[in-house]
Symmetry: C2
Subunit: 131 residues, 2 copies
Amino acid sequence: MRYSHQRERIFRAVAESCEHPTANMVYEQLKTDMPRLSLGTVYRNLNQLADAGRLKKIPLADGSCRFDKTTKAHSHIVCEQCGCVADVHLPSLKAIEETIANETDFSLRSYDVVLRGVCRNCRQLSGQNAG
Amino acid sequence: MRYSHQRERIFRAVAESCEHPTANMVYEQLKTDMPRLSLGTVYRNLNQLADAGRLKKIPLADGSCRFDKTTKAHSHIVCEQCGCVADVHLPSLKAIEETIANETDFSLRSYDVVLRGVCRNCRQLSGQNAG
DNA sequence: ATAATTGCAAAACGTTTGCAGTAAA
DNA sequence: TTTACTGCAAACGTTTTGCAATTAT
């Protein structure tokens, strides 16, 4: 992979963010500084960086994707109200691996745990407005 | 929810299938019998039936959805090669619930375990063609 | 009679792709 | 000089939606 100014900025935008940004969030952030940047370039580079192991791609249940600077294996919890994403380090899930072996004809390759909840901020906001 | 012929056939198509069909699979199957049926009607009804608890909607990581006659809580494993889906009944994962409580600010509402593997059929096919 | 439901077509959504031009090696 | 990369715009596959016509109650 050859150096490119765009890719460097796209990588840093994810690496320096704590909010697991989408491709569009990266695009909107960089656009002010780089008016000719295109959304297609952002998508292409995020996927290349994920393929190269420099970022982690997080496909969400609604079909959109987020990108994470932390490439070590870990899970994510998504807020049902505002859509924000936080990291979770789950203990090893031996029970899952055993169940697949015992109960199905599949050979297990990988798994994700997709967690849904409500973040502290949204709990406080809804506490103010309703019961 | 008022009775409709289309909804009844759409429900039965999922209930009588073992392959966790997509909206489009239901549409293609019924189209021969019901040439005026539209894909929009299939989507509308599958979502209504899922909202009413008569079917379970399974959002996959690639953004597409499948529908399941089994509405009890359970997980699914998706074949990486042919895309087929099988049911898995996982033991309760207390470890997950405790980790969320200890490690994050989120209140956990629900979670899905999305498993990926290779089904028996695909293992046999690739065993014939390669090592 | 009335309002849920339909078929149709268009639009929405996040994402990918073909292409001619640009820039890194 | 070569070829990976870019911007642009068009296309993609899945899903939703607006609307006038139909159908269940």
